[in-house]
Amino acid sequence: MKFPLTCPANEGGMNERVRRLRQESIDTPTTLTIERALIETAFYKENYGKMPNCILRARNFYEICKKKTIYIGEGELIVGERGPKPKAVPTFPELTCHSVEDLRTLNSRELQPYYISEEDIRTYEREVIPYWQGRTQRERIFSHVSKEWEEAYHAGVFTEFMEQRAGGHTAMDGKMYRSGLLDLKKRIAERIAALDYINDPLATDKEQELEAMSISCDAAILFAERHAELAEKMAAETKDEKRRAELLKIADVCRWVPAHAPRDLQEAIQMYWFVHLGTVTELNGWDCMNPGHIDQHLWPFYEKGVKDGTMTREKAKELISCFWIKFNNQPAPPKVGVTALESGTYNDFTNINIGGIDREGRNAVNELSYVILEVQEELHELQPGLSVHVAKVTPDDFVLAAAKVIRQGHGYPSLFNPDTYTRELMRQGKSREDANEGGCSGCIEVGAFGKEAYILTGYLNTPKILEITLNNGLDPVSGKKLGLETGDPRTFRTYDELYEAYHRQMLYFVNMKLAVNNYIERMFSLYAPATFLSLFIDDCIEKGQDYYSGGARYNTTYIQCTGLGTVTDCLSTLKTHVFGSGRYTMDELLRAVANNWEGEEKMRQYIINHTPFFGNDNDEADAIAVKVYDDLVAAIEGHPNTRGGKTQLNMLSTTCHNYFGSVCGASVNGRMARFAISDGTSPAHGADTQGPTSVVKSLGKLDQTKSGGTLLNVRFVPDMMKGEEDLKKLGSLIRTYFSLGGHHIQFNVVDTATLHDAQQHPERYRDLLVRVAGYSDYFNDMTPQLQNEIIARTENEAF
């Protein structure tokens, strides 16, 4: 019996306003705006060097809030844009200054273009580019690094997150719904008054930072005020009575928040949105900004409104829909170079959390959790991403409601396990309550929301490290000697000797990356303090310290390791067939991969089909994975960072597994040269042949609490999720994985035939969203390489 390949989206639930705003958001092309860069450059020319950098940054932010174009769209209820209009993305020349060539490329490239007029490019060339030469963060970083670092970076052994965006990866807790910016200003003034200039040698630094935070409050209040003024002006001009009332309400809301704590649901949402815009205007931190557990934050306002008769479920849904569309209006800032290769998407990775647990560890699902699931299903936009948090205390009917949205096949919601990630957080030293209030942001990164600066620094290409090991320190792709001479593997007599060589090589590159990470952290502390963001992260105000300088209660630095599945399968291949059965010699295998398996298809196929691989609940292969993982943890974990915190391991890959694969030759597990390495902690492509339970059991053998997050992709054919019974079974699979200690799992529900058809007829699949890594993207917006990689992921069929 045939069922539709993807169920039609449930658009019936959207009202006319939401339908129109959504369509506008989807249809508006992404453009670059130079407005922010112009304001900032003029300000820097005038003021750089005349004041402490924290004050300079705060006043720069104030200047932008004062001068940038204010936009209120027709029919909008939640207002404010990062650029002068929807989907106009500002640049951040203080971090990376795009060249004329970059801008032309962005304007004309086929995939994910950022349109910019030739006139703007010329203005940029004249007004912006000359000033920033030698003054950007990117130049500060690259001028410092060693030759070894630079060569390893260009060969794709690791990437560097902070070279063109600011460190970010944070999410908000609920404090902004209880205190307005005027309350914060009062606290700041009290902190300044209490400074002890005699016994605290950093008192002046603290005073300056606190003063900068106070200026940042003024900036955001001014920004809101300007929206109130525009709304009033528009109200005076409109002939539409209903719209006039809405605009007057907007003006009223913008006069109240963010200066004061919100009083109703609309104010609460608008409060968050102004904070969001402030943080992404001040800097362009990775993973945008994230409201965190939004269903919990908004609940009291909804509940109160329903009780006093001013709010209905329908009205709440409309407001949340308008809010959701705002996220879709903010594409990610354009990257350049290697960073564009590893992360080419308009998605800026806001990953909103619903469900899960509250600060006391109780079930936090409420009516708004369901409303938000409906909104996500009806709107099915690129952004925001949504994750459903499934703890033991989470009710089954909520999991079932989530499974129904998963079945739609847009790749969300993804699923997270608070029972595991709170243990990750506590293992890193967070209190039980702060851990309970935490969640996951970006792709899968765990954090103590509102209390932690957890900064990702770049991906590590573990299959590349093995490749270099198997070539005695030489990278066969770049032809350069990048690593240690750990010995000719042909002389190794035992598997342990081989593993030891890999291990030494891995430590060498991890240390290389660690050494530079601390320097980069200092560059942000010195040149790019985030004085607005610091207002919302405990305990920056109390300490008088910036988010980038250890002001947060918790400070973590991550290195993200990729390719666990590929490395495990390669090691298992060598262990089984070279050191075990002796079916092949090391030399035969190394020659085969050096020639990209040419003329060796028989050997390649034998290895693929007769080797214990990760993801099959095979104890031998899984033991290798556990060892590789534990050794990465041991290498990375616990080094002090510059902010009073420590380094930790993370296991996400975003799209970096494609970039990393593209710089690797063939590997001994049968993988062809240039093809993607395994993503996150998922098994390598097609390596898992025993069904999804085996996959989750293999993953369950890793002690995931030692990481800051793992990532598991599973692909199902739609046919497998026809009925409600099937969805319950999906729920059981999720619960099983989570009871085994899984951190995260996500699903693509789309069959191979559909994906092939979409490659042939992209015009028919304009809204085909699929899960990439910790986020969804339009299939049409992906490179053919990434499309093929997703097709190659194991497809689980109904048996």
Partner: protein, 278 residues
Amino acid sequence: MRLFDIKRFAIHDGPGIRTTLFMKGCPLHCVWCHNPEGISYEPTRLFTASKCIHCGAHETEGVEGCPTLALQEAGKDWTLEDILKVVEKERQVMEESGGGVTLCGGEPLMHPEALLEVLRALGERGFHRTVDTTLYAAWDTVERVLPHAELFMVDVKHMDDGLHRQYTGVGNELILDNIRRFAAVKDRPQLWLRIPLIDGVNADDGNLEATASFIASLPSKPEQVNLLPYHDVGKAKHARMGSQYNPQNYKMDVPSEELLAHAGDLFKRYGITTIIGG
């Protein structure tokens, strides 16, 4: 126990998520059989031409040496210990989903001693047990196995004895009689009746009426009745076995949505609620 396959994460072989053990050997040979490699008790070679890279290995090294798994052999003798090892791997997901183990085939009742050994061992370990059977076996065999499973899933393929013989190789008398006797057992295991609905074979109103009326007349109501829309997966399997699918060229079609709905309505008139698929 000789098995030709073990499937983990089987979601359409009874309640919850299950592990299905496919026992080799079957007294029937249904034209539409989708596991034809399970009919013979002898190991059956399966060859997937599209996977073969013509390396010559399977001619010289046999199944073990075939690098691509183009050549496989269905039918391997498993010890109880090894079976339990595989089944135990799924325990968590079974418990989470209310699943268990399904024994199907082939025809499990063809080898009652082996079947009973496995069922008893599974029962001792607390697994939910399903036997997916034709019930084409002596009643005393059925009676011996009956207390050792929580659910029997039984096909009702055709109500006409002659046509049943034509399509499956055996008459339906023993099967229908066993279903009737099974339904009469006090405190019996659950009974799910499954009708493989094949347009051109058994989906005409005459047979549907007869099937519904038979089910309605049983001494106890089956807990579930499924209409399983025919599919021709068996075709590919026959190609891999080097044999011909439906050599008699019987008309067999996938039932249309309308036909399925119609069949569902027809059963409803007899007071029988059906589930499509499952």
